[in-house]
Symmetry: D3
Subunit: 164 residues, 6 copies
Amino acid sequence: MPNHNKIAIYPGSFDPITFGHLDIIRRASLLFDTVIVSVARNRQKKPLFDEHEREEMIRRCVSDLPGVEVDSFHGLLVDYARQKGAAAVIRGLRAVSDFEYEFQMALVNRKIDENLITVFLMTHDKYSYLNSTIVKELVSLGGDVGCFVPTHVKERLNEKLRKK
Amino acid sequence: MPNHNKIAIYPGSFDPITFGHLDIIRRASLLFDTVIVSVARNRQKKPLFDEHEREEMIRRCVSDLPGVEVDSFHGLLVDYARQKGAAAVIRGLRAVSDFEYEFQMALVNRKIDENLITVFLMTHDKYSYLNSTIVKELVSLGGDVGCFVPTHVKERLNEKLRKK
Amino acid sequence: MPNHNKIAIYPGSFDPITFGHLDIIRRASLLFDTVIVSVARNRQKKPLFDEHEREEMIRRCVSDLPGVEVDSFHGLLVDYARQKGAAAVIRGLRAVSDFEYEFQMALVNRKIDENLITVFLMTHDKYSYLNSTIVKELVSLGGDVGCFVPTHVKERLNEKLRKK
Amino acid sequence: MPNHNKIAIYPGSFDPITFGHLDIIRRASLLFDTVIVSVARNRQKKPLFDEHEREEMIRRCVSDLPGVEVDSFHGLLVDYARQKGAAAVIRGLRAVSDFEYEFQMALVNRKIDENLITVFLMTHDKYSYLNSTIVKELVSLGGDVGCFVPTHVKERLNEKLRKK
Amino acid sequence: MPNHNKIAIYPGSFDPITFGHLDIIRRASLLFDTVIVSVARNRQKKPLFDEHEREEMIRRCVSDLPGVEVDSFHGLLVDYARQKGAAAVIRGLRAVSDFEYEFQMALVNRKIDENLITVFLMTHDKYSYLNSTIVKELVSLGGDVGCFVPTHVKERLNEKLRKK
Amino acid sequence: MPNHNKIAIYPGSFDPITFGHLDIIRRASLLFDTVIVSVARNRQKKPLFDEHEREEMIRRCVSDLPGVEVDSFHGLLVDYARQKGAAAVIRGLRAVSDFEYEFQMALVNRKIDENLITVFLMTHDKYSYLNSTIVKELVSLGGDVGCFVPTHVKERLNEKLRKK
């Protein structure tokens, strides 16, 4: 019964993780036996948090969710997914602009590996406007992001962005 | 281990089923233990095929797909899903206009039942332009729809729409 | 000081009024001295509630909002606005598809009367998926719409749509 | 030199023709040797003007444009185009919602006949909000549509829609 | 009567101001008693004109509009609006892509301060394609932007971008 | 007979050329007597391939297409088009986001030169997800892009991006 341990990968920058991401992870964990939340290591982009910090913040958030693992990867997502034995890649959708980009990437990934299925989950409407870039911008302008990210993430953001 | 038999519902009009729907069903069957393809019985809309014809055409198409069942329902999708013990509702996405409507329905359903998860799968790019309405329009204009629907569906369409 | 009594018109079908509409009305009443919520009488469309029922339901909802009046109109919106001495027309925006249609109508109205200003307000994210059509569909399928419309509207919907 | 007489078809409902359509026709006539403006005869839709009226109104508008012919067709557009020896089908684009539908139809037509090329031209920004449905609605509400359609079309609209 | 002096803020980069911005400012000045056009001072972005130049160019454009003031701000827009006693924030909308971003920011701002109302005004169709980035690009390529910006702005652009 | 040699320009970055571009070029060559594929020399953007490399790669791809020339340009597209005697500018459309940007540029160009016509052609659905940026990203992550670009382009990409 090879189908019984269904593995899904939820890749992303998670720079840092927000309540919007956590909503997707919680829902994905109800659909799949194992959900691997995996930080994309991308040499070109300069993240605010390095991959170890990002992984650690995710780990603190998902420790009570059964079947959720945290990892990081570089290279092609389809290669990583194959190596992990994943049946699906999870992506969150919030708005039309997300949709276009995500659709394009899903089509490219399908072209490279016909067997990898991209599964789109909808972000809760109360997080529909939320992304990591906006959270960082708000912190750097002096805003309180306590309703967008967990407390320990908020503290890390304040440390990083309000030093000056 | 109640999670192990994961059931998903793929609701729709399927008036009639197309290769685009079949692509979604095949992929959904790789992710879930049971996929119930369920014809929506809607008194307001006047379908070309009645629900029995639509169910029968779907059955001929999915007979070789393990774990795929065919059914019909009326009333609220969330009530039907709860009654079937479904963890997820499957919807196919093709274009931005799909996305807006589907997103809206998924948010309404989430509002009514927080536990029901809508899962969006992407239609294969080669069927991205395809829907049942266009297929019916092509047939009624004298076009050959053999590359859009299975042969037995094409024959039923020709019978219905070219009688005059 | 002719500018001091700023009048805005919020036209719509309101068939029936929802919490989404009420959110827009409340916000508009903070920006303008007078807000006229005006039911469009359209001979072509067949509303569920006639204009008197729709006006009455709106009246019950806005009785505590200072400066909000309820009316109905037929003919061109720009003619009605001019006759009322309105400086602005209020429209709610929820999604991209709204935006396109609303933008088109606002451009047409601007072409007919350069002085009439269309003001777009954003529907609260928790009502972003909500419209009167979905509410009616949910009621006719047996759903509870108590989180989408006021109680007295819900009761009227149940009377109208569940008679059979 | 079979390529030298390039024929393009501009199909549509033209119920009735507007300044937006005329802008597209004029531009198309600069790109192609022959442009056939062709009224789609569609049994399902109930037009305001019958096909003879629509053709006649178009003829009055394009009489001074060299290489522009007026015709009507029924059945599949790709069959009609092939029969006319057309290299291209012209479609006007105004907004995102146009784009999605037009794109879908162009992909379907390409699937049926790989050699037929759909050419999209952009409507002038001053007509970006304009379509035949809005023009008819304005007339029926008592509006003056002299800036949207030629005088003879406006007169025909007034006759048809203000009789009652 | 605390509501009688209604203040609105129109924030932006204005790098530099265009006829599209001026159209929005003129319309906003008809709706609100005071409109504060406010240059966002953003350390991360590198503007072509510094904030003093940008404010000065705006001042020259709006000197004849009653109730219009020019200012600059840094930090959170909602904090600035509260400090100014503003009831509304004005944003111009041109296209679908604008809409998505603006909507997201308006939802974030509403989350931070429920009382601040974002008011969207539509840019005139003849400026629907216009933004400061395109104007700068045209100038640097040698184009004449006299139909997009006032003469004194055009001169400043030519000085800055054609020095080499 | 001034209309007989119809010239169209297909401008772009082509960094590098993909099968999506080639599909557009092939179709454009069926509509126009001469198609000039022209590499935009843009000092601001840092391309992976310099203009000579980009031109050379295009030349190898289009050598068998009659009437197709390869060139490069800098400055305003409308000036270049006028100088070449072009009647049209060709642009490929794939998705809604393309559409918005392309539409904006076409309106700007129309404003600058009313006589220059932008012609949009649709990219084949099997290349709808494809652009040069994604191709470069895939190569740098170790992916095989043989189904997205011609072999000689793939080799150049591997040389450039896998040196380290």
